[in-house]
Amino acid sequence: MTSKITRRNFLAIGGLIGCALPFGGCSNLNGVIADRLGAGIPKKVSVTDGAEIDPVFNLLSRAGFGPWPGDVERVREQGVKAWIEEQLEPDKIDDKICDFRTRRFESIFLDPGTCYEFKREALRKDLCRYHLLRSVYSKRQLLESMVEFFSDHFNIYIEKGDCIYLKATDDRSVIRKNALGRFRDLVIGSATSPAMLVYLDGKENRKEGPHGIPNENYARELLELHTLGVDGGYSQKDVYEAARCLTGWRLHSGSNRGTAYFDAALHDDGEKVVLGKKIPSGAGKKDVEMLVDITCNHPSTAKHIAKKLVAHFVSEEPPAGLTKRVAKRFSESGGQIKPMLREILNSFEFNASAGTKLKRPFQYVVSCLRATGADTMAGDPVLEFLTRMGHGPFQYPTPDGYPTEANPWLGTLLWRWNFAFALCSNEVDSANVTLDSLCSAIGLESLHGTQNAPDILFAYFAGRRPSQDESKTFRQYAAHRDLNDEKVRAELIGLILSSPAFQKV
């Protein structure tokens, strides 16, 4: 359920800004506004304490970045299927509160030419903060999850060349625009996206002759990573032919700096054969569309994308049955993303594997901020934790994108624990938590005399009651300690966020 911003609430925003501005930037202004609009921590939050992870909790943890306080009961009331359908139509979800938090990052909304007027450092921060804040505060959680997925699938490393000036446009016009649309539109958008033309050298790709030679870099990744997959059954000749199709795309300098155009003089307009399909000569810039259709219609692409989606939402070892069903949805719908997501999120496998998949550092940090109902503008201290864990947004150098598997991330636990403790004791500058509000919302106005307080807190964060071992550990910790002491409470909740249970979805 989404709360519409009413006229009265809008006036409330105006009033708040009016009183806050003279004090020169009230740091939790956003938090105050969010509270007024009913997007802070609700007065009452129920806790699910079954032995297994609650399916609604699982859905919110895997289809998005974990529940915000109160989300679980909202979705339960709405119904799981209805929530999924709502999430599949993100434009119909009112997201003004998140927009309000993120609209200050102006470079995100500008064309590349204007971005060139910014310093790299400013652009980098805007991109990272925007990405993080939308993941934390957007009500379009599934969209944000797919944005993360496709940002890795069509990875662009913003430190390469001019990518940093061009990524905002790629994020807006390719990734976000099509993240729940048709897969081929993503591929076509990406193929001619200025950032991708720089990142994988497409702008250097020209027909054999005095002005250059074909550059296969993008064509190879198109087949190997973006569409068919490495074992998808293409040949080196296909890579070369695909590269020929893509010759001639360049970037403007001067007034349209950083926008792409097609230079027919540099395009190889001869006939090409890709994956056994003919692309006739003389098609010019239409070659891209024909090439992308050939690759997207290849059965290997359906399998490859299905497998990656299932790995993202279910398990790094995608169950074969589900993968097959999802690939079928891809093929029968002409590569529509929504039917695939519907298949995954409503599947048996989606629930059966709850709590077995390691959160990557980004998801971990975002889920901590969401679960605690934190008020943050994602300043440097938050981003530094991500960098330290090797998961800064758009900072992955190679085109395969940040890995999905758990293994490469197993060395990050220490920094996760330190993030949890720092967040809970309000030591992360630029992120504020109010653990007392959270505790009273889940019925722990006072932690005194509530022997099972640690169990209740654990259940709130983990979506299930603690196992005997877990319960014993936390009770031992809590015995002889004053849980109403601010530091002790911060430590206890920090420990819950540090526990194996909260590392996984």
Binding site: E159, E316, Q395, N407, T412, L414, S467, E470, S498, P500
Partner: protein, 403 residues
């Protein structure tokens, strides 16, 4: 990077002994001399008369110049050592220091930034392999599971060579490696986490316990004042303190595989000095620190390899302001057991600069720097295929490591 299957993962857990699961038995310490070091005044081609002709003011005196402690120290019939490097002489004589002459890049720009960037990324000129070379190594090397301290750089920020490494840390000392518990008693927190990770039946048990184990070791290190072994005496400098922290981490067996540290200030365009002066001070710091590091790690020499590189050497001629301008080839230093030490490897290309057309002149580059890195990674570290770190590059065989 091939996806690791659950079975492989479990198999590895089963094979795991008492050591940390990510712990490696080899450690690479990368020292980068930022600014372009004039290695011609460190390893002096004293038998080449041209050297003295074209460096009338800044050359280092011939071993037989009769200038006492100002004379360079003879290494062989051709090369001698800067007198301020005498601390490293025993290491060289005992065969643990190999020097490769005329190493460099194909970068013709003469730009510090571009050349350092290219080298940190392990690239060819204008060809991007993606990320840092050490990060690619960590992702490609056998096993591939890392501890929080697999990769460390000493200083405020991570160098580009570690760009893309999962969980690399920039620290100034091991004091930063701790759990910052809100109630200020990390032992209490560690106990709770130990119980929790012990009880985890999934994939997190081993890495969680490893991390806690590692923290315990670092904690016990912190409790006692660090005493370098064998009476090693580090000079009083930030660089030496950094090496000392690296030695401490190596001896703590926390799984350190790659450590990066910089020594800045080598851009000696102006009054470079000779036996004393600007560069001599740096040379002394470098040599004294490396010698102390070698002594301190005398029980770990099999495990540790130290690589000393710079972005380019300098011009063979001294310039009008008694310094040297940006050049090309430089002498790389590799320290550790198992290197073909006690000699200057590679060909001396001579000081004739005329044949250089592209970019700044200087010592002609005989070995691409990636040949050095590649040999160190494949022969002293756990890299199986050089292509995983330097795609498309065919390394030349140098023979730094004894067969």
């Amino acid at each position: 990077m091939p996806a690791q299957t659950r079975r492989q993962f479990l198999q590895r857990l089963a094979l795991r002994s008492e050591t940390l699961s990510g712990a490696s038995d080899s450690t690479l310490v990368c020292v980068f001399l930022r600014g372009g070091a004039d290695t011609l005044n460190m390893f002096i081609p004293y038998a080449d008369d041209t050297y003295y002709k074209i460096r009338p003011t800044i050359s280092i005196p011939h071993p037989k110049s009769g200038k006492g402690s100002d004379s360079s120290v003879k290494l062989d019939d051709f090369y001698s050592l800067h007198p301020k490097m005498s601390a490293i002489l025993p290491v060289y004589k005992e065969g643990r220091l190999a020097v490769v002459q005329a190493v460099g890049t194909d970068n013709p720009t003469g730009s510090h930034f571009e050349t350092q960037d290219q080298m940190d990324h392990g690239d060819a000129f204008k060809k991007t392999a993606g990320g840092g070379w050490l990060a690619r190594y960590l992702r490609a090397r056998f096993g591939n599971n890392l501890t929080p301290l697999s990769a460390v750089s000493i200083g405020p920020i991570l160098p580009e060579s570690l760009r893309g490494a999962p969980g690399a840390s920039a620290i100034s000392s091991i004091d930063e490696i701790r759990i910052k518990a809100p109630c200020e008693n990390p032992a209490v927190v560690a106990k709770v986490l130990t119980d929790l990770y012990n009880a985890d039946v999934g994939l997190l048990s081993a890495p969680g316990l490893d991390t806690l184990h590692l923290l315990k070791r670092v904690e016990s290190l912190r409790a006692i004042e660090y005493k370098p072994s064998q009476g090693a005496s580090y000079p009083d400098s930030g660089f030496a303190r950094g090496l000392r922290e690296i030695a401490r981490l190596i001896k703590a067996d926390v799984g350190l595989e790659v450590a990066c540290i910089d020594l800045d200030g080598w851009d000696t365009h102006f009054i470079q000095g000779s036996v004393s002066g600007l560069q001599a001070g740096l040379i002394e710091t470098l040599s004294d620190s490396l010698a102390a590091f070698d002594t301190d790690l005398s029980s770990r020499r099999k495990q540790v390899t130290t690589l000393v590189i710079t972005e380019f050497g300098r011009r063979s001629y001294e310039n009008g302001s008694l310094g040297t301008d940006h050049g090309r080839g430089f002498a790389a230093m590799i320290l550790g057991d198992g290197v073909r030490g006690g000699q200057i490897l590679g060909h001396y290309p001579g000081l004739n600069e005329a044949k250089w057309v592209l970019g700044p002149a200087g010592l002609e580059v005989m070995f691409d720097y990636r040949s050095v890195l590649s040999e160190v990674l494949t022969k002293r570290m756990a890299l199986q295929n050089s292509q995983d770190v330097f795609p498309g590059f065919q390394p030349q065989k140098i023979g730094i490591v004894r067969a």
